[in-house]
Subunit: 444 residues, 2 copies
Amino acid sequence: MTHDTLRLGAFFYATGHHVAGWRHPSSEADGGITLKRYIGWAQRAEAAKFDLVFLEDGTGIRDGDLRSSERTARSTHFEPVTLLSALAAVTERIGLVATTSTSFNEPYNVARRFASLDHLSGGRAGWNLVTSATDLEAANFGNDRIARHADRYERAEEFADVVLGLWNTWDDDAVVIDRASGQFSKPDGFRPLHHKGKHFEVRGPLNLSRSPQGQPVLVQAGSSGPGRDLAARTAEIVFTAHQTLAEAVEFYGDLKARLPRFGRAPGDLKVMPGLFPVVGRTESEARAKFEELQALIDPVVGLALLGRMVGGHDLSGHDPDGPVPELPETNGAKSRQQLMVDLARREGLSLRQLYLRIAGARGHSQVVGTPAQIADEMEERFRAGGADGFNIMPPTLPGGLDDFIELVLPELRRRGLFRHEYEGCTLREHIGSRPPAGFGPARA
Amino acid sequence: MTHDTLRLGAFFYATGHHVAGWRHPSSEADGGITLKRYIGWAQRAEAAKFDLVFLEDGTGIRDGDLRSSERTARSTHFEPVTLLSALAAVTERIGLVATTSTSFNEPYNVARRFASLDHLSGGRAGWNLVTSATDLEAANFGNDRIARHADRYERAEEFADVVLGLWNTWDDDAVVIDRASGQFSKPDGFRPLHHKGKHFEVRGPLNLSRSPQGQPVLVQAGSSGPGRDLAARTAEIVFTAHQTLAEAVEFYGDLKARLPRFGRAPGDLKVMPGLFPVVGRTESEARAKFEELQALIDPVVGLALLGRMVGGHDLSGHDPDGPVPELPETNGAKSRQQLMVDLARREGLSLRQLYLRIAGARGHSQVVGTPAQIADEMEERFRAGGADGFNIMPPTLPGGLDDFIELVLPELRRRGLFRHEYEGCTLREHIGSRPPAGFGPARA
């Protein structure tokens, strides 16, 4: 750990992270397409002093089985950068992190949109860089199949360099607005980038001056070898998933050990695993809440969710009460597939038991218990060197968020593990990091 | 004319449309990168009952001469869809139209972002479809030169079809949210598009349900032959530029005559030319205001602006007081180049006289006068069948907008030419059109 308190994200996955959350009365089931719901959630998270709101994304419906899609809330949702832009206008301090894929976008457009969000929000923008991992998404962009994992990461590496380069085409003191002399920006205050690489040729400069944070905060989630190197070189936050403390500590240590190679210190990158908390005033209340959600899972939805989680396999023909079949390796998100299969083998789970296990946290840590039990789990991982904070994944929204704010945060604060007030104004100030070497503001 | 009142857009080009507007005390010179300025302008335009806010866009700095860029406010500005998303959260009724190019984007992404804006705003989104026309923009996307005009339009045609198709992959009553049965959307409520064309292969469906307007309003600005056909087939608003009443009437008549070929009625497409008004309580006050702005134009900026307006020529070596040289045809925006050259030849203007002429309106109608004179001009073009309304281009922001609202709107209302209150809630209701045939809501 590099701070003495936790960084906390509010990961909004309308209508909550549990796959059947939308069916539960503690969710606002129209949240995915209703701005006022998100405004309510974001303002509550800000009042509770969360570091950031986090939004994932996909460039298409990721469930090939439309029968299953029709039975989940996730087939329709706002595009995240537009949504966060709207939230920027009605919040003041909380960080705003959106996912955008490097696979089917152009770096100039992505650099502009996140720099624009950083300006709109007064320095609160973050970009979660991902590669797209499903054939269904590829098919919306002229490709039958998704690119190979190594090729996706090669493109992502260069994509990140171009975006970081474009954010740095303007000096931070370039805009002078001198009406008398007619000089709007200072001479040579911005300049072309002239990037020429394997995947991209980009002249620049960006048509947007340096943003309040110098540059938006870069977030990543990849945990493969190339993913870890890319993160160590360019990211300030890594969002990750681990089932056991040992795995979390191994990952954290490995990632932090890679930083010096890129001229960075351990504090420059925060590791924030996902955490799916089901909170009760007593353990049995928490268990009952969880079982209530589990009972709402439709088997069609459960098998489809599992199929996606193990890399895009169609499991709809399998007996839910049979074992997890052998799965050929896919081009999809490798780390998640392995995580799921390992879990099933380790505990001898049937397909149904496995999908019930992941329906909430989707491979992330799941804690069902009292505020003290949840705080214990967080504190243990934090103090053992497995996390700098957590990306909180409420089972339902707003119910699960309110539970965490009203029950768990007071316990964390009692232990001195979470802030009472924001220390700064920008996302980077909240997380207390520095931009990657070579990409910082010109004056730094 | 197909309505008895005018449609009016508030075209926000921070810090005002006059190229030296940012130097004038009636502008907020940091507007291009300061959200609270835009919020103020948009809320004033909404209080005045404008149909829409309109934002142009470019995918790069469009002035190759960085010396000139440094002396204008336009080198740094928000990306328009993120900006309008922020404005959606703090306005209630006014339409929100942003420009996005078909040249360097993917239709799936564009369809999502505008559908998202339509959801965020409760049915107020519009997409101004353009093709990019400068080599400098192309160079940010791996191309030395911009594609030929005909190729750009071929791509734009197919792009529009894919976007309209994706917006129609969801039935308008698809989302049912039945918690008890577990059916979130109705069976077969959405479906793939399976588009396969020359430029794009897109499977669909969109991962966002049908938006409040059924689909965002499509706006176009092309006035070439292919541009007119594309507009007649797909657009609900055409933004255009004409210097003379005769040209405006010709264009209006030609465009409306093309509509029946695509199964559409004259009222389904609104022609809204740009109008650059310099308003004074007396004509001499208006003239003085205008001359004050003109005197602020730096010759470096004037020649660069003119060079861009005639298709991307470098005029920096020419004598400002010499004649307009012969210009080779470019791949750029043909119609605008012709407009400029015709104007210079017709009136025997020097380069300086020409850039002074276009520095405000950039080829659009420019009226310097009293509220009655400006209203006369608007009423004449409206009643002669040359416009359904106007896209108002304030010389400075907010000063020029306030002048129009406080002085010209009362005059238009006295004449019964502009609304006192919004009649509806969506942009489509404001402009009173119907979506293109074959692309309408399923229930229509």
